[in-house]
């Protein structure tokens, strides 16, 4: 295996149905779904009225009124997740040279919710094209520029190294974590606080997915509306949340005797250069990303124990992704469990990739594969083992997480049991 990589030493999660890492893993391994009718705003008049919402009380989560005032919901999620990750890693601010601590936060739509709320105020509910700037709050600029998500996490961690927001749509989470590992691997940082956040359950985002028919309209049965790989799926269910990881160089983690959940050992991105939303059924570009990630990690397909799928719940994705996994893994594809946690926590756009990497780290830690909930009737066109309904014990030495998003982006990341690399 190559030198490229980093150790995951802290995990923090704010997810639908679960604030906190432990609650998150409980939810996923129990196969419970957190999708429900939208409560964050009145969704009457929208076609998809379902979402996977976080029951989030900022004060209970430890945020001060001033923090709540200046931060969009997505930033609040990220800060709470980052604090949990830092505490989990046992990394006190000041323990590491701040200049050697970086931040890489993914987000697809940034601070949309705050931007929309304030838009309504300054435009008289959309009546005016020229708005009234004096009706805006002092913090509106912070909502316009999603870079503030990284700012808040950097301030939380006391980081003064390379800091950025990675915003590649629905692969933002994987790409931000991948970027964090890159910063460590090239020596630009010893520690990177990496993850992603999104809080897109606002009228404009729900409306824009309505307009393209991408989201499920199974409003009558919201709890079972996210149905990846099921013949009765009818689109994805919008989610929200954040996962933040503490990534450390192997040396840094070893030096301080940190507990590692997993090592990230490979990562690659490819684009389909085909269509902003469309996917070709051949899955070739995602397969290419997987193959390159494996090559960089120095592993072969038979070494992969579990595939955490993109599994968004659209027919287009399921075919594309299944083809990609089969192309990249060959025969091994039929022996490896493949599951989508979006069946339980929905699709939180840029955040989901980080939530999935967190799930992969926990899957390795606990040797458990989370299931694909709601998978009652597998689409007959799909022929892999999608782990229906119930979690499974499985020796998870190496897991693969894949993501696919608007813009044509395809990403693949490989995680391994800590120390596996040096044992081989």
């Amino acid at each position: 295996m190559s030198d490229w990589g980093a150790v995951v030493t802290g995990v923090g999660v704010v997810a639908p149905g679960a604030v906190g890492r432990a609650a998150y893993w409980d939810l996923l391994t129990a196969g419970r779904t957190a999708t429900r009718g939208i409560t964050l705003f009145d969704a009457a008049g929208f076609q998809s009225r379902i979402a996977a919402e976080v029951d989030f009380d900022p004060a209970a989560a430890g945020l001060t009124p001033h923090e709540v005032e200046r931060m969009d919901r997505s930033a609040q999620f990220a800060v709470v997740a980052a604090r949990e990750a830092l505490a989990d890693a046992g990394l006190e601010p000041g323990q590491t040279d701040p200049e050697r601590v970086g931040v890489s936060i993914g987000s697809a739509v940034g601070c949309t919710t705050r931007l929309e709320d304030e838009y309504v105020m300054v435009s008289d509910s959309g009546k005016n094209w020229e708005v009234t700037p004096e009706f805006a709050t002092d913090h509106l600029y912070r909502a316009l520029i999603p870079s503030t998500l990284a700012v808040e996490v950097a301030w939380t961690a006391g980081a003064e190294g390379p800091t950025t927001v990675v915003s590649t749509g629905c692969t933002s989470g994987l790409d931000a974590v991948g970027h964090g590992v890159q910063l460590i691997s090239e020596g630009a940082a010893d520690v990177v606080i990496a993850g992603a956040t999104d809080a897109p359950i606002s009228p404009i985002t729900v409306a824009c997915f309505d307009a393209i028919g991408a989201t499920s309209r199974n409003n009558e049965d919201a709890a079972h509306s996210s149905r990846p790989f099921d013949r009765d799926r009818d689109g994805f269910v919008l989610g929200e949340g954040s996962a933040v990881l503490v990534l450390e160089s192997r040396e840094h983690a070893a030096r301080r005797g940190a507990h590692g959940y997993a090592e990230i050992i490979g990562f690659a991105q490819r684009s389909n250069a085909y269509h902003m939303t469309g996917l070709k059924p051949d899955g070739l570009d995602m397969a290419e990303a997987i193959e390159i990630a494996m090559r960089r990690a120095g592993i072969t397909p038979d070494m992969i124990s579990y595939v955490n799928a993109h599994g968004s719940g659209t027919a287009q994705n399921d075919r594309h992704e299944t083809a990609a996994v089969k192309k990249a893994l060959g025969e091994a594809a039929h022996r490896v469990p493949v599951s989508s946690i979006k069946s339980m926590i929905g699709h939180s756009l840029g955040a989901i990739g980080a939530l999935e990497v967190a799930a992969c780290a926990l899957a390795i830690e606990t040797d458990t594969v989370p299931p694909t909930a709601n998978l009652q009737h597998q689409d007959p066109a799909l022929d892999l083992d999608y782990v229906p309904l119930a979690a499974r014990k499985n020796v998870n030495d190496i897991v693969l997480s894949v993501g696919s998003g608007f813009g044509g982006f395809q990403s693949a990341m490989l995680l391994a049991r800590p120390g596996l690399a040096s044992r081989k």
């Binding site: 708005v131 700012v151 003064e160 490819r270 813009g407």
Partner: protein, 406 residues
Amino acid sequence: MTKNRRTVFSGVSAIAPNGSTTKEFWDATLNGVSGIGPISTFDASGYPVRLAGQVADFAPRDSIDGRLMVQTDRWTQLGLVAAARALEDAEIDPAALDEYDMSVITATSSGGNEFGQREIQKLWDKGARYVGPYQSIAWFYAATTGQISIRHGMKGACGVLVGEQAGGLDALGQARRALVDDATTVVSGGTDAPLGPYALACHVSSRLLTERQDPVRAYRPFDAEADGYVAGEGGAIFILEAEDTVRARDAGPGYGVLAGYAATFDPRPGSGREPGLRRAIVRALADARVDPSEVDVVFADGLGVPEADRAEAEAISAVFGARRVPVTVPKCLVGRLHAGGAPLDVAMALLSIRDSVIPGTPSLGELAPGIDLDVVRETRQATVRTALVLARGFEGFNAAVVIRSV
């Protein structure tokens, strides 16, 4: 591992308020022609800020199909036009290259603002069903990279970085990484177009914009009368290639080399620790293996906010010594272009190397007290072999790149 293969800028395309092509922009800049003027695209009379750096005419319809126009924000159109021109400038035909060897990595600060405002207005004024299908792909931050990748058939590792004004340099840093073993050709840089009515209102809330109404005296980095900046639109897109790739295709030496890059973040407010810009400079110079004495010009960030100007001057002086290096802020002619601003500075650095000239900072009257810099006021002839470009992003981002002659 990034040091053995030099990263060459083989194509440049700038679109700026004082010139919508590279040549027009460069001529205007060398002649001190400003692109800052009263906001003309909407009625800004109710705004405390009335000036902006607007790109007058980059004729997107001449080169972008109507089908692509309707699904893109102006920020993406700027990126598409600039990317196509940069490819042309580098004499690259993407169709002739392996599609997996080409990457697109751009920066944006705020995405598709005007497109988004139109759609959100439809939603709130008329109803959810009036939101069009292209909202889902036009306003989000990845739109420009995605559209450039699709238009030119580029399937390599693509990226989008957001760090306000500093993000434009982070994109170039990422492009250099991609050239290590992901790609042979990278389209990179940044554009932004945040001058719609709502986006500008958002900017106003930062209280960093000047409310002056005289275009010539509005944005005055390092000046004693500096009281904020002017927002602008535009940016620059480059073609970056590994040096051996450029040589192999016999396309001329290129404009210059991305010799060093570093990014840092400021300490938490109130920590009392030193801001991160000096460290970014030191690291970028070290990365480039360049001694401060070798730097011929610094394209400063020049926020035009007194405290920030002083902090930047201190960082520059701490590395180079007081008044030991020429410093220039030609962006006073166009405003701050957010993620497009630093790439535009990089374009100027490359053209300075090519033409042996340093563009000036014509807005400067009296240096503000405590700023001990040799600010280049008028365009001057000078051999430029090494240029340093600095950028800072809102609330703490710092980035620096070192550009050297080939």
